[in-house]
Symmetry: C2
Subunit: 344 residues, 2 copies
């Protein structure tokens, strides 16, 4: 990475695009007025993009528009994606890392297709067995990294070891001062528990942890993830996806139940007047838009997937994530971790 950072954005992906994508960009630019040398390559229908650049008063010399008339639809399947999605805004935004020297790509479009095209165009890093989808989660002690969240349904011990290296590189790129603690998601904390792959990964990670890229904290159970005592949680993509969505569903269930209770009678409604700021802060702290953006790790370039349904604030947070990742030298950190792995 040079000091110049270029973020390629698929302006057409997700609900309410390109409006929310461009509005998200305007929030980012407002919040980062003093930061120099961030460039944006925007991919999509140029006419539409210009309408929203005007609407949100973006007049930045560092923005380039690349006109693409075609868009990947939500119905497109990964099976036919490579044939059908050539020259779409998604395809070209990923390809931008190869031909326009962009450092990272962001899209809120069809996830399955994004993974397939990213893999094909950017290619998997030689030493990585499988790329993985990672995300930041809130916890009692700050953000943590969780992976794989669904890129790989079945994983062996080597995949889990690679995810540990990739996840700790991601953590270090965002929190450069910390040495990450890595744990394997399992159904018990004793060494003998779990599937064969997990037990083998445990032994390998105990050895690899001596190299010093991260500290290996052993197994972690689902109920301890959000305690925040460990910074990187590693799992196969099936289990990680179930854990992610179960956590989302539980959070929604509880906050909905709370809302219902607090609107129930006149007294509880009065209480809302007094607790307004406290509840706002509570809501703000756990706002899922702050954690919007899954990172596809293990390819020769990073790709960030924003939630399709998020709004401009959520999209802003995923732009910010792209910026932090590139600024934090993610790709170099991955190479560094992997080179240690090879020495072993």
């Amino acid at each position: 990475m040079t000091d110049k950072i270029t973020i390629a954005i698929d302006a057409m992906g997700g609900d309410n695009s390109p409006s929310k994508n461009i509005e998200g960009l305007s929030i980012f630019l407002r919040k980062n007025k003093k930061v120099e040398n961030i460039h944006f390559n925007l991919f999509g229908k140029e006419k539409d993009i210009r309408v929203y650049l005007n609407k949100f008063k973006i007049n930045d010399k560092n923005i380039k528009i690349f006109n693409c008339e075609n868009i990947v639809s939500d119905e497109e399947t990964p099976l036919t994606a490579i044939k059908n999605s050539k020259n779409t805004s998604m395809w070209n935004s990923i390809n931008s890392q190869l031909i326009n020297n962009a450092d990272i790509t962001l899209s809120a479009g069809n996830t399955g297709v994004l993974l397939v095209i990213s893999r094909m165009l950017l290619k998997t890093i030689e030493k990585v067995s499988k790329p993985a989808l990672a995300a930041l989660w809130p916890s009692k002690k700050g953000s943590i990294v969780v992976l794989d969240l669904g890129a790989n349904i079945e994983c062996d011990e080597n995949n889990l070891v690679d995810f540990s290296e990739l996840g700790s590189a991601l953590y270090k790129s965002i929190f450069p001062k910390e040495k990450p603690k890595v744990s394997l998601l399992n159904i018990g904390s004793e060494e003998i528990k779990g599937t064969d792959s997990i037990k083998k990964a445990y032994s390998k990670l105990k050895e690899i942890s001596k190299i010093g890229d991260f500290d290996f904290n052993g197994y972690i159970e689902g109920n301890k993830i959000l305690e925040g005592d460990t910074n990187v949680i590693v799992s196969d993509g099936f289990t990680g996806n179930i854990a992610l969505k179960t956590a989302e569903g539980t959070a929604k269930f509880i906050t909905d139940s709370l809302k219902e209770s607090l609107l129930e009678n006149i007294f509880s409604r009065i209480s809302l007047l007094f607790s307004y700021f406290a509840l706002k802060k509570f809501k703000n702290k756990l706002d899922p838009r702050k954690f919007n953006g899954a990172i596809f790790l293990g390819l020769k370039g990073p790709v960030v997937k924003s939630h399709g349904g998020t709004d401009a604030i959520g999209f802003y947070h995923s732009i910010d994530l792209c910026y932090k990742i590139v600024k934090g030298n993610l790709m170099n950190r991955i190479q560094e971790n992997l080179s240690h792995l090879n020495e072993k």
Copy 2:
């Protein structure tokens, strides 16, 4: 089942036993004064049990004490359990189904050992490929059944089909008026998603659902579990355990954050005066003690595992669960479901 119901209780399992176990029993007896013909076989140190029967003023002619001096320790592993745990309170309470005609066994002791002894003494029902651990969860639309929660780390399609029959029998025994809707826990709702076992189970369940024991609702993702649109959620034990614990951890994280926010300043503290009853009701609705008790299904007799760390109220709820299960004819319903499966 005759009209007489006998519940065998391991009085020594779990923290603070036998005090909480006997106090839980006293709560049950107080709440079920009018119910006749419920008998209890209590297993443990007779002297200790009598102290607490006196303390909690239980003087019931339907209680029998079976003295056992030995207790399964928390450190005992499933590997050596069969050798070491003979004639413990846990062992004898399970064996009571064989020699004292108890209908069900309840213990708050060591889970791994309980599963091993139960399996050995009660034996798996012939038509069942693997027994499974099930529990009731709260949802937006009432209680749901989730299984397997950790008895089997790896499961094939036949196991998942059996779990569907076992889980829907359990649901019907507790909610006799409803025809259960069954879903398979997966990482997407499309038919092509998931592992091979899940996809094969999907096809089988679509067919079996025509028999009429339950309606098959297809796949369900983690974020939809608590919506309550489906009554029985089926999963392998590894994934189910991760989902259960992640849900627990998320619930704790959110309620802790809420508590912290509401105690933050003088206004939010005042708000608590007004919202006291609403928040109490909210807390009460989601009180995990109400959902205390995992049911080991697929053996020739049912075994309920109470949380070791629960209190008397939690233990009362697991006694109540035992009562409901036997009253609802669980074992007959399982046999009925399995016989249909066989006709197929």
